[in-house]
């Protein structure tokens, strides 16, 4: 009786998801290599064919966010598909993308002056199903604008990443997820030098999923989840007490 009930619940969950327009792309899955983080997403897979929102508040975190996004894009890029990176005042340095498994020549950069133009370009790009990922960097995104983007991807099944740098308000938008990435000190285990990029990844909102916070490191061409160190917290407490 018990397994049958479990099956029914899963079946119902799938139906609810399909009613909520969460389709995913048939036959395509993103292998993030995150282990149990995938359980935070609906259907236990990273939602493709949707728009994701990333928020960063300072330059250092913006770099961390772009690094994390580049890692995701590298995993997502198929052999034949190109990526559009649309921004104003871009500081991204293409040669660095090699580190995240992206051939920089497969990215087309659109450098614009106004936020309005960026929005138009993102929407047009999201409608083009020959692309795999569209990345847009802008600061303000209203609910209406985000809904237009969401409607565009529902037709074309393109994945969109919107990186909002220093937004005035963190308003509600129609994106499936909201992320905040911040940098963490790299681990060297007593060795000299600077280690692999390590981030504190906060999934603040996810539609039909469970938000959470994790620590992730980019090493050996893939994401690696790191268990948070218990002693570091006690150390902090001790310092505060002292």
């Amino acid at each position: 009786m018990q397994p049958a009930k479990h099956d029914i619940i899963q079946q119902l969950q799938r139906e609810v998801l399909s009613l909520q327009r969460h389709k995913g792309i048939s036959g395509q899955q993103l292998h993030t290599g995150w282990g149990d983080i995938d359980k935070a997403f609906p259907g236990h897979t990273f939602p493709l064919g949707a728009v994701h929102e990333f928020i960063s508040t300072n330059k250092e975190n913006a770099a961390a966010t772009n690094g994390f996004m580049a890692g995701l894009v590298g995993k997502l890029m198929q052999q034949s598909k190109q990526v559009l990176w649309i921004s104003t005042k871009r500081t991204l340095f293409p040669p660095a993308l090699n580190m995240f498994g992206i051939a920089p020549e497969r990215i087309v950069f659109i450098d614009l002056c106004k936020q309005k133009e960026v929005l138009w370009a993102i929407e047009e790009a999201l409608k083009c199903n020959a692309l795999s990922v569209v990345i847009g960097e802008l600061s303000e995104l209203s609910f209406t604008e985000s809904r237009r983007l969401q409607l565009a991807v529902e037709q074309s099944r393109v994945t969109g990443f919107i990186h909002r740098y220093n937004p005035r308000t963190e308003n509600t938008v129609a994106c499936v997820t909201r992320w905040k990435i911040s940098h963490l000190a790299s681990e060297m285990n007593g060795m000299p030098g600077v280690g692999f990029p390590k981030w504190n990844v906060a999934l603040l909102k996810v539609r039909n999923g469970r938000p959470g916070t994790w620590q992730i490191e980019w090493s050996a061409g893939g994401f690696k989840q790191i268990a948070p160190q218990a002693f570091s917290i006690s150390e902090m407490l001790q310092r505060k007490a002292g």
Partner: protein, 499 residues
């Protein structure tokens, strides 16, 4: 088929223009004058003034004696030329080859055009009625050669249309001035009592050359059609051009769209036959008030896909101001390139298809936001970070060299390195502290230095020693020191952020 030309003569070009802008001057005698050797000399006079006996090149003071209330305005040099150019552009609706004939005429090559208006007579009538409607006092003539058309338009008394191959009969009774000769030649002919072309056309050529020079003979040959006369069209003919005249003036966006798609279909059909595609395309609308509106598109990849080209134009249709209406549409492709036929057939199914879809998206973006906004980067063989990449010129371009992946590069690179204040324990060591934009960072971990020398064949200057730095917050930076501590205090710069 033989050539046919129209010569149009604007008898009072500049004064008619004045009357057009100030209708109250219509029946008042007035002249345009300019200073010449300390006197005001008349450069143009209207009909009313000429009836009073006032002629061009008279002195204004003398004319005031003839007619005390004569109105005098300033003559603007270059105005006639400007007017003629505008009129020539207007005439493009009648024929694609129009040339200006300074100081007061136009020459139209109408070979093969007149039948569209139902023959030469209705064609000429239509042209003259329109021009006279605008208030210009014009005369015109049609002939096989430019010279005869010119002569008949200025001096002809009988019919403005000279039948084919009958230049000789028409020219005989005309004065020598009809041959566009120099003033000195005309004076000499006059002195000898040769007041008609018929009186010297039969003379031996040798004698004519000796007395009047080669100029007279060549003008004679040009008028008779024995020597070819080249005219300089204001708009060189485009090899890839299509025209669409409209029955009634078009004023709506929908109408323009229909015209555009019809023209594009014609053009693309022709391009498909020749295996070519458009890289640049111009759509022109000739308005009934003489203005020309045009929109232009460019493509990243040569294309003859009507739907795609139409979409590119569609973004700009709103910028066309039809005003009272548009009577002729033309489309021309100044830049065309070869396209492979196979790619055309497999439009949407292969990798090439993907490329096409992306190229079309980029065309739309370039059309709306400018071509300069699209970049794609390839590695360049330089160590200097700012020069380590170059912009690719097309979507398909690939590089022979590989990207360098053995050394870390920051994901964000500042367009200009920014100065920072540092505390360094020892020369050639990474800093302990640095102050970037008023915030103090304590360095916890560091890598480096990575020395990058100036490429002396491109630029002179100090080398840079780069350090990867991690501060106590875990943020990672790319700093460099310009030069060494041997020569005083070197400057430190922030150049990028690592992920």
């Amino acid at each position: 088929m033989g050539k046919r030309f129209i010569a149009i003569w604007f008898r009072h070009l500049t004064t008619d223009r004045m009357v057009r802008s100030q209708p109250e001057l219509k029946d008042i005698p007035f002249v345009l004058s300019a200073p010449e050797r300390g006197r005001m000399v008349i450069k143009a006079a209207n009909i009313a003034a000429q009836e009073k006996g006032i002629q061009v090149n008279m002195v204004v003071a003398d004319c005031r004696a003839i007619h005390p209330t004569l109105q005098v305005f300033d003559y603007q040099p270059g105005q006639a030329e400007k007017l003629l150019n505008a009129l020539a552009e207007w005439c493009l609706r009648y024929t694609p080859v129009v040339a200006t004939d300074l100081p007061e005429g136009l020459i139209l090559d109408i070979s093969g055009c007149a039948h569209l208006w139902g023959g030469e007579r209705p064609y000429l009538k239509e042209l003259l009625t329109k021009l006279r409607g605008y208030g210009y006092d014009v005369r015109a003539a049609i002939a096989d050669t430019v010279g005869t058309a010119w002569a008949v338009s200025r001096f002809g008394q009988v019919s403005p249309i000279v039948a084919s191959a009958s230049q000789m009969e028409v020219l005989l009774p005309l004065p020598p001035a009809a041959l566009r000769l120099e003033q000195s030649t005309l004076e000499r002919l006059d002195k000898l009592g040769l007041h008609q072309i018929s009186s010297f056309i039969t003379m031996p050529r040798k004698a004519l050359r000796r007395r009047f020079g080669q100029g007279l003979l060549s003008r004679l040959d040009q008028a008779l059609g024995q020597e070819y006369e080249v005219i300089q069209p204001i708009q060189p003919a485009e090899p890839y051009q299509e025209r669409l005249p409209s029955l009634e003036p078009i004023r709506t966006a929908k109408g323009i769209e229909i015209a555009l798609s019809q023209l594009l279909e014609k053009l693309c059909l022709r391009l498909a036959k020749e295996g070519k595609g458009v890289r640049k395309c111009i759509f022109k609308c000739y308005r009934i008030d003489g203005n020309v509106q045009q929109i232009e598109i460019g493509t990243n990849q040569s294309s003859r896909n009507v739907r795609h080209l139409f979409k590119l134009f569609e973004l700009k249709i709103a910028t066309i101001a039809p005003a009272l209406g548009i009577e002729v549409f033309t489309i021309e492709a100044p830049i065309v390139e070869d396209t492979s036929v196979i790619q055309d057939a497999l439009w949407d199914f292969t990798e090439g298809g993907n490329g096409t879809a992306i190229a079309e998206l980029l065309d739309r973006i370039a059309g709306k936001l400018g071509v300069g906004s699209i970049h794609r980067y390839l590695p360049d063989e330089h160590y200097w970070p700012e020069r380590s990449l170059k912009v690719a010129s097309s979507l398909a371009e690939m590089s022979e060299t590989c990207w360098r992946t053995d050394i870390p590069r920051p994901i964000h690179l500042l367009p200009q390195p920014e100065t920072i204040d540092v505390t360094v324990p020892m020369p050639d060591y990474p800093p302990m502290l640095f102050n970037y934009k008023g915030v103090l960072h304590h360095v916890k971990k560091a890598d480096g230095p990575e020395r990058i020398e100036q490429e002396w064949w491109l630029q002179q200057g100090l080398y840079r020693d780069y350090y990867c730095i991690e501060d106590e917050q875990g943020a990672r930076y790319w700093l460099f020191r310009l030069g060494s501590y041997d020569s005083g205090e070197p400057k430190w710069f922030m150049h990028g952020f690592f992920a």
